[in-house]
């Protein structure tokens, strides 16, 4: 039988972000997959070497729009380790709270996108409507819906006051109720079951061999979670259950995430009840002593790693970021082998890919050397000029 090569992406209606796969197919079955990244490589690791430690908190936050908090927390922890700074207890709790809130909004967002890939648009709209509640809570605490700017080196910048508690608890309760409803939908609805059960299989052995992380790994029955393996922030003091499913398919990946929602809400409620009193940040010196640190955080999509090296100056000598999506790509390619062409989008959605996270290297403006902030209007004008010149 002859093999046909089909390019998928970087621009494709079923993908939100630019990535390219070359699928080799025989009739309706995928027999081989080759991924290609690089379409939104922004040079963040290089840029980090040209920024101060504090500026890099905000840079790290912008690696990803959805798990922005995880990256900023991971980076801050690495700097704090090099400085030998003890973060105040209250800050550790607030980091845990915001981290879990981010996980809940991420899982709702992901559930919606996956439903969309299945063609179940109603579920997509319901899930995104409910996600708004979590964004409202985050806005209440930090003033922003995404890129919260909560982290700083030495603690956090936003406190949670007692006036906020009632509204937060009320919304958390609603989100927990909705998660129960989605669980019943995703375990009973025939459309979902037919599209997800036994689709995109990743055997536990392969998941380990290919170094998968996060919910993708846990849906293959492997109970690994940075929060319990290497506790950071206030993990270790809050009730945490690592959710696993043994189905190894897209359905299990959905259920792991839906079950993680009440676990996260439980952690937030516990942390709010037991919120310590005291300062939320300590002052830190600008210059970081020589040394190196590896920081790990369980981002909503899985293990996030930041490696930081200091040469004793105001700027890092090296910042290396490995976001969870890159770790899950080899596993994704394995899952895609043997699926039907029609199932490709839902299997890709299954790992919760964030391509912006997976890429961070170099972007050079060859037109002008200047670094400049552009308004939307300037950007538009530039685009018009550019096209006219052509």
């Amino acid at each position: 039988m002859s093999t046909i090569r089909i390019p998928f992406g970087p621009q494709h209606p079923a993908l939100e972000e630019p990535i390219n796969f070359i699928f080799e197919v025989e009739e309706e079955k995928v027999v081989n997959v080759t991924p290609r990244l690089g379409y939104i490589h922004r040079g963040i690791e290089k840029l980090a070497e040209n920024r101060t430690y504090l500026q890099n908190v905000y840079l790290a936050e912008r690696i990803c729009g959805i798990c922005s908090f995880a990256h900023a927390a991971c980076y801050s922890q690495a700097v704090e380790e090099l400085l030998g700074t003890e973060v105040p207890e209250k800050a550790r709790f607030i980091r845990t709270i915001i981290g879990e809130m981010e996980r809940v909004q991420n899982h709702y967002l992901w559930l919606g996108l996956t439903a969309k890939e299945m063609g179940f648009e109603t579920l997509f709209m319901y899930a995104w409507r409910d996600r708004e509640k979590m964004l409202e809570i985050l806005e209440l605490i930090s003033g922003k819906r995404v890129n919260y700017g909560v982290n700083t080196i030495g603690g956090v910048r936003c406190d949670i006051s007692s006036e906020m508690l009632e509204e937060i608890k009320d919304k958390l309760h609603q989100l927990e109720e909705r998660a129960k409803y989605y669980k019943s939908v995703c375990t009973k609805d025939q459309t979902i079951l037919k599209r997800t059960v036994d689709v995109g299989i990743l055997a536990p052995r392969d998941a380990l061999k290919l170094c998968a992380v996060g919910p993708t790994l846990r849906a293959s029955g492997v109970a690994r979670d940075v929060r319990s393996d290497y506790p950071y922030a206030a993990y270790g003091e809050v009730p945490l259950r690592v959710v696993t499913y043994k189905g190894c398919d897209v359905s299990s990946r959905i259920l792991v995430r839906i079950d993680e929602i009440p676990v996260s809400i439980g952690i937030v409620e516990y942390a709010l009840e037991n919120l310590p009193i005291g300062p939320i940040r300590v002052r830190v010196p600008r210059v970081v002593p020589e040394g190196e640190a590896v920081s790990l955080v369980e981002a909503p999509r899985g293990e996030d790693l930041h490696y930081l090296r200091s040469d004793g100056s105001e700027k890092p000598a090296r910042l290396k970021v490995r976001a969870p999506t890159l770790a899950n790509l080899p596993a994704l390619c394995k899952m895609l082998v043997d699926v039907n062409i029609a199932d490709i989008p839902v299997v890709i959605a299954g790992i919760d890919p964030c391509i912006a996270c997976a890429e961070r290297v170099i972007m050079i403006d060859v037109e002008s050397k200047k670094r400049k902030m552009w308004s939307g209007e300037e950007l538009r004008r530039y685009a018009i000029e550019w096209y006219q010149k052509r």
Binding site: K46, E81, C211, L326, P330, I364, D365
Partner: protein, 152 residues
């Protein structure tokens, strides 16, 4: 048994330097020749299946590669140094298949060759990127890359 003494026993004299800046973190220096053997011995250990990533660092005169392997009790970082002129190490893809993209990433950005890895095609850089520019090497400052790209 404590993880650090377990590793000392397993790697023996191959571990040239062992640092533990904090609990749960180990940095071990090994020679280039012993890299595959060390990774293999660690990968066979219970609970040592996961390679988090490979970090490249330009130390000025050499390229340092750090293999972050996680164990239940500690994150173990194996450190290898290679010269800039002949930057090459043996691949570990056959031992840990999950290393494939990490090796390509380091190859793109630092120009380190992984001997035995059959697919080192560009992963992150554009197809027409000049072969001699390794953007994360220190001699390639933002300005220098900029100049070079403008010449084209």
């Amino acid at each position: 048994m404590m993880i650090s003494s377990l590793i000392k026993r397993i790697l023996g004299k191959d571990a040239q330097e062992i640092l533990s800046p904090r609990e749960g973190r180990l940095f071990i220096r090994i020679s280039r020749e012993k890299l595959r053997e060390s990774v293999k011995r660690l990968a066979e250990l219970e609970g040592f299946s996961h390679l988090s990533t490979i970090t490249g660092v330009d130390t000025g005169s050499e390229i340092e590669l750090i293999y972050h392997l996680s164990h239940r009790d500690a994150l173990v970082s194996l450190r290898v140094f290679v010269s800039k002129e002949a930057a090459a190490v043996p691949t570990i893809v056959d031992l840990i298949p999950g290393a494939s993209l990490y090796e390509r990433e380091v190859h793109d950005l630092f120009g380190v060759r992984f001997d035995g890895n059959t697919d080192l095609s560009p992963l992150l850089l554009p197809d027409d990127w000049p072969e001699d520019i390794h953007p994360l090497r220190q001699e390639w400052s933002l300005e220098r890359i900029n100049e070079r790209m403008r010449e084209k």
